[in-house]
């Protein structure tokens, strides 16, 4: 058991130490969603409507930032030496994801501290639930980043996926416009988009929108998505070959 958890804790700790030593990273991740939120929110006269969307964007940026480092790290770096060690792949995956998720969580919480500007009024228990929900979303998005990054050979490939998949996925998740008023096929896409449920989970807890989907469905889908991604991460990382090309 020691041999399983020791690498997990070590990798988790490594992410935190690195983060602490490069504090300027926080600014890069939190600042741009904050600016987007203030601009769109102020322009539309409703800071509340876009708040959850911007919060998820913060988490998404952090998760992308952390998982993109896997590509270089695995080919020529720290991670490569871990991969030829006896530590199990599963514990390496778990350590990396937990570490990156914790960073996304911290940055999400920093963003959450701006909630009073959105005139959010919630009780202390809601705050506790929100802190948990932000972690859940952080874990999910990190898992998504991991699954994409693990098999990639170049960071430019990741950028392409980010622009063509992750950012559009975020756009049609209820972050910019609610599902209730969406038109045509976009509505169906939103319904199928797991991220929609992350946004509505946060909106429900922030009491910013009571619209569909409800809190129960949102929580269930988000947890299921997170677990599915964790499982997928384990599967891709346990593939035999570590290098796909010369």
């Amino acid at each position: 058991m020691n041999n399983f958890w020791l690498p997990v804790i070590t990798l988790w700790q490594r992410e935190l130490v690195r983060f602490w030593r490069q504090k300027s990273r926080v600014l890069g991740v939190v600042a741009s969603p904050l600016v987007f939120w203030l601009l769109i929110g102020s322009g539309s006269g409703d800071l509340g409507r876009f708040f959850a969307g911007a919060l998820v964007l913060t988490i998404l940026f952090s998760a992308i930032f952390s998982t993109i480092s896997i590509i270089e790290d695995r080919r020529e770096g720290f991670l490569l030496s871990m991969l030829v060690s006896p530590a199990s792949r599963t514990s390496l995956v778990l350590g990396k994801i937990l570490g990156a998720a914790t960073l996304a969580w911290i940055q999400g919480l920093i963003f959450l501290a701006f909630a009073p500007l959105a005139k959010v009024s919630i009780g202390i228990m809601d705050v506790v639930a929100l802190i948990g929900a932000v972690f859940l979303v952080s874990f999910t998005l990190t898992g998504l980043g991991f699954v994409i990054a693990w098999r990639m050979d170049s960071t430019s490939g990741f950028h392409a996926i980010m622009n063509l998949l992750l950012v559009p996925m975020w756009m049609v998740s209820g972050s910019l416009f609610p599902m209730a008023t969406a038109h045509g096929w976009i509505k169906a896409v939103m319904w199928a988009n797991p991220l929609t449920y992350s946004i509505s989970l946060l909106n429900n807890l922030l009491k910013l929108s009571s619209g569909s989907p409800g809190i129960g469905v949102s929580l269930t889908v988000t947890v299921a998505f997170g677990l599915a991604l964790l499982l997928a991460s384990g599967v891709v990382a346990n593939k035999k070959s570590l290098v796909s090309n010369a």
Binding site: R18, V84, S85, P86
Partner: protein, 302 residues
């Protein structure tokens, strides 16, 4: 200690290794010498369990690399060509993380870390961030990392790349000590001739095949006598002329002619007098591993 049997590997349709066989005895320093792209890195990746071969088999410390990678991983220390240190962490933090991967922790790990930093002369730098270290020191940390869990086999991929001659000398001193004091078996890849000369035995790798194998002295003795090197404005013409006049077949590479011949000094006077003005420069040397490589492959290593 290390065994390769008809080891082959293909990346898609490109053949990187074909039917490579060799054996490394316990306590030996074994070198894989060859140009970049010759198959060294592929072989290294297979032996270090980074990927499974597409054909043949290999064993390290008695375990099959493809069937039982976990057992192989416990037995090997790996020093990569590229940096595998986390630059944002200190030397000690890097080593501690490495120890944890091998299930080492607590006082046992601390004791072992003391030993390796002491051994590699890193004791006063242990709390420095890796990014503040020189290239030579970083290499030493890499080696310390590879040795932390007392592997029986150490695999090093172009370990002295980017090191100045002083640091390279130090590195070799550690490598030789490690073998003589602790009996560690060492396999290294290199394209540096000096380095290859210090190995106990070598395999010359070219286009995915082992073209020659033996001790450096055995390999050199394949060439009888001396090597004469000639440079000429029209090297191809000179080669033809030498062939008709002396019945020798010089190899021509990058405009340079090489002739293997006993009593090279006599040949030099003859050849210079035979083609006055056609030769720009003349050199004579005892056979090097490069000459052996040229003889076996018709190509240069570097």
């Amino acid at each position: 200690m290390i065994l390769a049997e008809n080891l082959s590997h293909q990346y898609g349709s490109r053949v990187a290794l074909s039917n490579v066989s060799f054996e490394v005895n316990a306590g030996e320093i074994f070198g894989l010498l060859g140009p970049n792209g010759g198959g060294k890195s592929t072989l290294f990746r297979i032996l270090s369990t980074m990927m499974a071969p597409t054909g043949g088999r290999a064993e390290v410390a008695g375990h099959d690399v493809a069937r039982d990678p976990a057992a192989v991983r416990r037995s090997i220390g790996v020093v990569f060509q590229t940096q595998s240190l986390d630059k944002a962490l200190t030397v000690a933090e890097n080593l501690r993380a490495q120890g944890h991967m091998y299930g080492l922790s607590g006082p046992k790990l601390r004791e072992r870390m003391e030993q390796v930093v002491e051994r590699l002369g890193l004791a006063d730098r242990r709390n420095d961030l890796v990014e503040t270290l020189s290239g030579g020191l970083k290499r030493r940390v890499e080696i310390a990392k590879g040795l932390l869990h007392r592997p029986v086999v150490l695999l090093m991929d172009e370990a002295s790349t980017g090191l100045d001659p002083g640091a390279r000398r130090d590195l070799w001193q550690y490598v030789e000590e490690l073998r003589s004091r602790e009996g560690v078996t060492i396999l290294l890849t290199t394209h540096i001739l000096d380095e290859a000369d210090r190995c106990d035995r070598l395999a010359l790798l070219h286009q995915g095949k082992v073209v020659a194998e033996g001790t450096p002295a055995q390999l050199r003795s394949r060439i009888g006598g001396d090597v004469v090197v000639l440079e000429a404005a029209d090297s191809a013409a000179l080669a033809r002329q030498i062939e008709t006049r002396f019945g020798l077949k010089p190899s021509v590479m990058d405009g340079v002619l090489r002739v293997e011949i006993a009593n090279g000094h006599r040949f030099i006077t003859e050849v210079v007098e035979a083609f006055p003005g056609a030769i720009d420069s003349v050199g004579l040397h005892k056979p090097t591993l490069e000459d052996v490589f040229v003889r076996e492959t018709g190509a240069l290593i570097e």
